[in-house]
Amino acid sequence: MNDIPARRRSILSLWMTLTSQNPVIVTILALVLGFVVGAFIIIFTTATILDAFRGFFNSWGAPGHALKVTFDNVGAAYRDMFTGSVIDPAGFWHSLTTGKGWDNTLTPISETLTYATPLVIVSIGVGISFQTGLFNIGANGQAVLGGVAGAVIGSMIKLPMFIHLPLTLIAGILGGALAGALPGVLKAYTGAHEVIVTIMENYVIYAFLLYVVLSTPYQQPGQANDIGRTIHASAQLPPLFGVASGLRVSYGIFVAAGVVAFAWWFLERSSLGFDFRVTGASPSAARASGISPRAVIILVFLISGGLAGLAGVVQVASTTHYVDGTFLIGDAGIGFTAITVALLGRNKPIGILWASLLFGALGVGGRAMQAATGIPFDLATVIQSVVVLFVATPVLVKEIFRLRAGRTQALQLGTQGWG
């Protein structure tokens, strides 16, 4: 190797990195595969494409026409997904040259950030519990309770903003931590399996949500259905560019950024975070070195639940400003999405940040795609699922793209439970 010039050597090593099985490469290739699978689904479900292929052998020009129709349709779908979630190059150029229409130009990226903001917070909470080897499947319920607690404080008392807003956010954290403490304590003292307890907790908290939004003190005055009071302006996370801009991205992104920084410091630098990771890697080694499993279990659930609660209250304070019976239900259940986001981000704060942005972009872009082309939003969900599937089975990606075995350690998804 010594006779190879330095420049060539660096290119070679870059090539080696790109063709070896490292986590970033695997994730990017999984994304490519996700879009390929999505393309085939578009092809097999779009009538115009199938019609074009039906006449494939009819004339010499037919195959070319069929391919053109395919690329037009698939291309339009993915183009709308991109321009609807990141930026429309034409609009960006127009704004850049004329200085007008920035509101419209920035709307897609603003929507993606709005979607990703609570998602990154709750996913980091889930990721921390996964890193400790505990499965917190109740993040959605914890986020609901956090949102309700924050919304009650935000709507039923009146204070100046510099006290009210922090108080609202803290109420959310406490609500989530309370919901997290329950399975934590049960696990630590009785050994009740946290997966069962947290799954069931989601239902209990949903029933509690309905009870609260239908109860007189908190129910929206003048309405008899399941809707809570709107929180005061002093407890809202205001839009970053002002209400007049119409851009929904709020100061909540700073909360999310703070959570990412905190989680990175906590897991990588603090001694408690080290205890957590050791417990996750080997419970017996942790016990042997004097780490109390009970304390770790309860603390993990407090932190994980607290972050989920913060996500819930950030969602309320920045977008809807009220809680109703559909709060974080069904497709909106960010606490469930968080499980896949944490897996995709390998439970690392920075990884989760990217994964949340990707999920945000796919969610928002899927909506734009359906509005523009009529291809159902669910395609975005399919792509999300396929990406996670391939990330969870790196061997498959390695074989498909014939990557070299990685020098880095085997991919850890932190999915092993406590023995």
């Binding site: 005055p221 929904r248 109703d324 709060f327 497709d331 014939r402």
Partner: protein, 362 residues
Amino acid sequence: MGRIRRLTTVLGTSALILGTLTVSVASTTVSASAATKFKACVVTDTGGINDRSFNQSAYAGAKDAAKSDSNIVPSYLSSGSSNDYTPNINTFIGEKCGIIITVGFLMDPATAKAANAHPSQKFAIVDDAPVVKAGTHVEALQYETDQAGFLGGILAAGMSKTGTVATYGGENFSAVTLYENGFVAGVRYYDKTYGKTVKVLGWTPPKTACSLAACPGKGTFVNSFTNATLGKQITLGDYSNGADIVFPVAGSVGLGSVAAAKQDGAGHYVMWVDSNGCISDATDCKYFVGTVAKGVEPSVEAAILSAAKGTFKAGSYVGTLKNDGTGLELGGIKVPSKLKGEIATAKAGIIAGTISVNPNKW
């Protein structure tokens, strides 16, 4: 093993090529199609476009408009929760829709906000009249469904063998309870006029006419427009309490009532709501006594066509028995001609204004 290797190579390479091509095409093709088309965009509530009820009707109205004017392109977005209302509306504003139809009372604040921020954008909202600034373009589509509910009450009371009928609602707000008020009034009218003693379970209208907040009325509510399981439970409870006809005013939750009627077998029926059950859910027609219909489909179609033609008027449309904006459709079981006559008499009386649909009058 070698063959598998080769296969994966081929797969991987073709995946890469297709991926690259897609991306390159995606970034080069220029959108030319939708430029001259008129987009009719429907934002549904959580029920979605297959709820066999008013969300489905609204989208059907958009498709009808597209049929009568080939320049109109219908499009829809479903809301998974209330958190989706605003982004869905904003997406359609970004798509430069000719008109945006929002479906349901719950979308009131989101629609009002969007209309105030985009005064030139045309909106139509089903079941609600939002308070908006002057200069905005919002048409409120509302329906006096208590008139049709009244006829439904007569039909149910006349068809009931057990002398008990029941109703339940999706949520306790006026768009829902209006039906139920009419339904109860119809049953009471039937009892009083023809000397019967049919009871209604599930809804007691407020005693005096006052605001909803002051006296909301008492009844059974699912607090959902999607949870069919709860609808089934409530309906089974009603059946076991002696009711033989149940009237769900809860969109797709009513499918749970149909399931309950199937389970309990002969003699158990459902009164459908919003869109004719024998069309929207044709396979279950034999379980429907009738449908208290709301003219969502024709009124949405009319709003879209007017917007496409440039004759759109902001303001409000009120569907009544007189203009067929609401009405009673018969279902899959035979109705005696005597009862049909009694319903026709009541209908004429309501249109003429001689019969009140206020439940407290009977």
